[in-house]
């Protein structure tokens, strides 16, 4: 059987984080682990095409990485006693069992998402260490100079080492809050890819795929536990939103809002999977914010057309969401749904009470409501206020089009 570059790439995607996770535990050092795993994949590229794929590619990578790390640490041992000890300890260790690898991967994820690290650092570290993305890839995805992203990663890793952030599963009392932080990082990665997927910024769709992959990994890690429903909820939420990718932007890169999307272009396979997960969550009956958001998306996915949407059910779900997550953003989204049930006037009254002036969507939603009420001059001003608050080209194109449709002038 011949081994292609894409076969190795697939193994890399699936096994990189797991291998790094095992090696961090064995050697107690993130840099040593990363370097060794990269060495192992370089070796795989050299050997596998001629020797064929080993029976357990994951085991091969971990064992090779471990041996490379031991060799390296022994070479450097004369300089650093600490490394010599790590090499000696690691040499005695047996290859890890599958359960142990899963625990290591969780340790790695929780370390990357430790609350002592800034959210931006949590996201970067998770993509780097768990996802195996390179620093230039992450920098490109977040539209930052490579140097900035490299510094962010170096600083985060230095903090883990110097402040001694433990490589450990959180204690039971902290687990809820810590898992919420992990899910938030995954959703941040997804949103970063999603929000900016328009505007011809290539490469960012990968972030959505990466977030979904991380979501699947977490679902595997939390299968049949009390935490599974929310982890599943996040996965379903991402799948249902992702299913609309093809219809989200028009040919010229302008954003197309949900109501105007061509639903025949929605990805049915993702919808079927997402809906099945939502139903599974309903059966478990342990609702949480991600599950409720997934359920809201499921109502949209179920509707054959925008006018057939069951808006009163969506308002009910937003009421439920607002009770567990009483934020102005949720209140804003609820107002959008309420406009479809009680009309734009009722929704506008709610929107005008929200303290979200810096958020472009508040102004964009306000403008839509004003337009529907025939208050066109105010709508143009509100679209303008929205434009002043977003840099996203696809969003800006849509706002500009709305202003022009109302006869307003844009800069």
């Amino acid at each position: 059987m011949s081994v292609s570059a894409s076969d190795i790439d697939r193994v890399f995607r699936e096994q990189y984080g797991r291998a790094v996770a095992v090696l961090v535990r064995v050697f107690g050092d993130i840099d040593v682990a990363e370097e060794a795993v990269q060495d192992a994949f370089t070796a795989a590229m050299q050997h596998w095409p001629s020797s064929g794929m080993p029976p357990s590619p994951a085991g091969w990578i971990i064992t090779t990485a471990r041996n490379r790390a031991i060799d390296r640490l022994r070479r450097e041992a004369s300089r650093e006693e600490r490394h010599a000890q790590a090499a000696a300890d690691a040499a005695e260790e047996e290859p890890p069992e599958e359960d142990a690898v899963r625990d290591d991967l969780l340790r790695l994820i929780f370390t990357c998402c430790h609350p002592a690290l800034a959210p931006a650092a949590q996201v970067a570290l998770t993509l780097r260490l768990v996802g195996g993305l390179t620093t230039p890839e992450i920098a490109r995805a977040f539209l930052l100079p490579e140097q900035t992203m490299a510094q962010r990663l170096v600083r985060a890793k230095a903090k883990i080492r110097d402040a001694k952030i433990p490589y450990r599963l959180p204690v039971e009392a902290d687990l809820d809050a810590r898992l919420r932080a992990v899910l938030a990082v995954v959703y941040l990665v997804f949103n970063e890819g999603y929000v900016s997927s328009g505007g011809g910024r290539l490469g960012r769709d990968d972030l959505c795929a990466e977030a979904i992959r991380l979501g699947r990994v977490l679902c595997g890690l939390y299968e049949k536990t009390a935490h599974e429903p929310e982890v599943l909820g996040l996965l379903a939420l991402m799948l249902l939103i992702e299913s609309r990718r093809a219809s989200r932007t028009s040919a010229d890169g302008t954003l197309v809002r949900l109501a105007e999307q061509d639903r025949s272009r929605w990805d049915q396979a993702l919808i079927v999977e997402g809906l099945a997960i939502v139903r599974k969550c309903l059966r478990r009956n342990r609702p949480g914010p991600y599950q409720i958001q997934a359920a809201i998306q499921a109502v949209h996915s179920d509707a054959p057309s925008a006018v057939d949407t069951d808006w009163s059910q969506i308002v009910e779900l937003y009421d439920q969401l607002l009770s567990v997550e009483p934020t102005p953003i949720v209140a804003l989204n609820r107002a959008v749904a309420l406009a479809e049930v009680q009309g734009p006037q009722a929704a506008l009254a709610l929107v005008d009470r929200l303290d979200l002036d810096a958020y472009y969507l508040l102004h964009s939603i306000r403008a839509d409501l004003l337009r529907r009420l025939g208050r066109n001059a105010e709508a143009v001003l509100a679209y303008g206020a929205a434009m002043a608050r977003t840099e996203n080209p696809a969003e800006r194109a849509l706002l500009r089009r709305n202003i022009e449709a109302l006869g307003g002038a844009t800069v």
Binding site: H114, A116, D162, A163, K164, I165, P166, R168
Partner: protein, 115 residues
């Protein structure tokens, strides 16, 4: 074991009334007792306000002495505790208890080295 500096982040402004401070000190004493029992206590101290600070600089063979804190700010270090803890999570747990007792934020910093 690592050592961490837990600093009390004090806002600018008048010192709270003695009744309030007395309750704070009682709560702090209780945390300190637990910390000592756990073998984590190293050293602690409370500081006079930044207005009592003096800054000394050495430049080109000359000493300069000036009044006041090095950097004026809305917050300053009001006091500190040096603790010994196995890792950051353990240090953060003690910081939580101090923050609750003092009702002020606590900054946790690892020592790079110690004598």
């Amino acid at each position: 074991m690592k050592q961490y500096l837990l600093s009390v982040v004090e806002p600018e402004g008048p010192i709270p009334p003695p009744e309030f401070l007395e309750k704070v000190m009682q709560r702090v004493a209780a945390v300190e007792k637990d910390l000592k029992n756990a073998g984590g206590w190293v050293f602690a101290g409370g500081l006079h306000p930044p207005s009592t600070a003096t800054v000394v600089r050495y430049r080109e063979g000359e000493w300069f002495t000036t009044d006041g804190p090095f950097a004026e700010g809305k917050e300053h270090i009001g006091g500190f505790v040096v603790i010994r803890a196995p890792d950051l999570d353990a240090a953060l747990e003690w910081a939580r208890r101090y923050a609750q007792a003092i009702t002020l934020p606590i900054e946790v910093r690892p020592f790079r080295w110690e004598h």
